[in-house]
Symmetry: C2
Subunit: 347 residues, 2 copies
């Protein structure tokens, strides 16, 4: 099934068919309809490979991801793919499996495939991603990971804004002693802490104790709450670095007989636990870093650059969204009791 077949049926030259199907050129309405009908009759689908070769553009984006099965990376990918598909671009996905060797190999494959643009999906705020932009003559955009080169375009969650948002929300609730439980050695975590601090300071308040630095587990959330209690640190709100920590903190607070949020408000981060829409009310309050949107924005920027637009240099921040649940909503005892049943918290 080729242009030639359609041309034969319509009784015209291949070039005319091409013109019509690509939507351009001066062609009489009569021959146009004849051609369109023939194409439809044959269910003709132009060979994208041949088109790419002839036009010098593949209409393919290469996506280099460190681990597609990482849930956050998959969210970024989904956001990006949907933008690419809408721009009639195909998405070639290569998983580097976090191996430098594979990464190098995949770069060569992307080059051979003549991709029109490259999207790198990193590993969040782990170490910077060694820039690969100079290996390509097409635009490269980094998402959910920071390129090692400041000249590159890297889309990342606005962690500082997350921290600010947390602080504002908790202070808005009337909290006076906000504690912070998070993990160490992570740029994102540090930025969130800084954002939180900036809001507290501006309001003339200090953090309850020092930031408690552990790992990303629920267990650490619980342990940290235990520390706050043991040390008699006064606190009436906790901003947790992720939702797991928040769940652990929540459990430990309940164990200690504290009411949430009456005694202590709890706010997480990640929007990892997607509660069912059927639930009457969301339980855990959290901040969503909008990872799918991040992927979509990175993709949009890449597409724009491919059509002549300039790439904005440096970090591109994606704003977070507050997802309010019962853990930061003053509520009736009955409502709280129902919602906070130990089992509920597990979702």
């Amino acid at each position: 099934m080729t242009l030639k077949d359609v041309a034969a049926i319509a009784g015209v030259d291949e070039s005319t068919v091409s013109r019509v199907l690509r939507g351009g050129g001066k062609v009489s309405d009569e021959t146009r309809t004849r051609i369109v009908e023939a194409a439809e009759r044959l269910d003709f689908r132009p060979n994208a490979l041949a088109q790419s070769l002839a036009r010098g553009e593949s209409k393919v984006i290469g996506v280099l991801v460190e681990d597609v099965s990482d849930i956050f990376s998959a969210l970024v990918l989904r956001g990006a793919e949907s933008v690419f598909a809408a721009s009639d671009l195909a998405t070639l996905v290569y998983d580097a499996q976090e191996s430098p060797g594979r990464r190098a190999e995949l770069i060569r494959k992307l080059q051979a495939r003549r991709v029109d643009g490259v999207l790198v999906i990193g590993r969040g705020s782990a170490a910077p991603y060694t820039s690969i932009s100079d290996r390509f003559q097409v635009p490269v955009v980094y998402a959910f990971g920071v390129s090692s080169s400041a000249l590159d375009t890297s889309f990342v969650p606005d962690d500082f804004a997350v921290g600010r948002m947390a602080g504002e929300h908790l202070l808005g609730l009337g909290s006076r002693h906000v504690a912070h439980i998070t993990a160490a050695e992570d740029t994102g975590a540090q930025n969130r802490a800084a954002g939180l601090m900036s809001v507290l300071e501006a309001a003339g308040r200090a953090l309850a104790g020092r930031p408690l630095l552990g790992d990303w587990s629920a267990r650490w959330g619980a342990t940290a709450v235990g520390q706050l209690i043991d040390q008699d640190t006064p606190f009436d709100a906790i901003f947790c670095g992720n939702d797991l920590i928040a769940l652990g903190a929540f459990a430990r607070l309940r164990e200690a007989g504290l009411r949430i949020p009456a005694d202590v408000a709890v706010l997480g981060h990640d929007h990892f636990v997607r509660e069912r829409p059927s639930e009457e009310s969301k339980v855990l309050s959290t901040i969503d870093p909008n990872r799918s949107e991040l992927g979509a924005r990175a993709a949009t920027t890449l597409v724009r650059a491919m059509t002549g637009g300039a790439l904005p240099q440096g970090l591109q921040m994606v704003a977070p969204t507050l997802v309010v649940g019962l853990t930061t909503t003053p509520n009736s005892d009955a409502q709280a009791r129902r919602a906070y049943d130990l089992l509920e918290m597990l979702l």
Copy 2:
């Protein structure tokens, strides 16, 4: 950077360069080295698009997925991609976003791209996936979802084997009254239940009560355990349809003062909660349906079919793996106490 450039430098014809680079043909060692050197000097990468056109094969696999950001689908994708990459095949990913309209559109795109094979990643054991095999002249394989046509090749977790494995493991522990908590209206869940029953029957035992059918939440796990207790159903082991249910069941059992596994052994399914390797021992026992392996096997079969192999018809079952944790390991009190701390279970 084309064949012509390499040929000019090496002082030979393009066709000779092509022969050498593709690794075949009788070429003198001397010219061969000359060509290889020239290619390396130019860092020549043959245009895959041109190769595809000339050879009539794209070396591209089209992957149609219902939702890439679904964690299970992402695992399947990862397994498949790694096989494709190893076979020097590129992976084109299209997300149908669970919309029939988009699905139809994407099929046309895959056709236009002249993919050499299609892998459909479904939504587990939800409704069958309407077969799209007759829309392609290249092999189509379904993974993590069953095609509506029995003539197609569909790779699915062997849920019956999961049930059997659960039964054998629990009976092996000496359990005499195995309960089953799972969700309704799901073929996979039904098969797991059937597998469990078959083992119990063969051992001359009956299920403790009827299968408890709810949803996939931890809350349901807890509620169901409450029902077992309230109804005075004797039970000393529970096989849960997924890990969330198992967590909820676990919490409720602890609340009731029951020892795990001394009084009640708990076994989950999914291997959803990946505990850190650094933990001395895994807490929750579970059964892993091996979704990445499923993706890899589906991919391997597809690749084989593309090179002339026959496609096996019907359901292809992927065997599960037992992941033993403390919830089914008879252990010392000290060990159990440490491991079963309420917080641990959240991990």
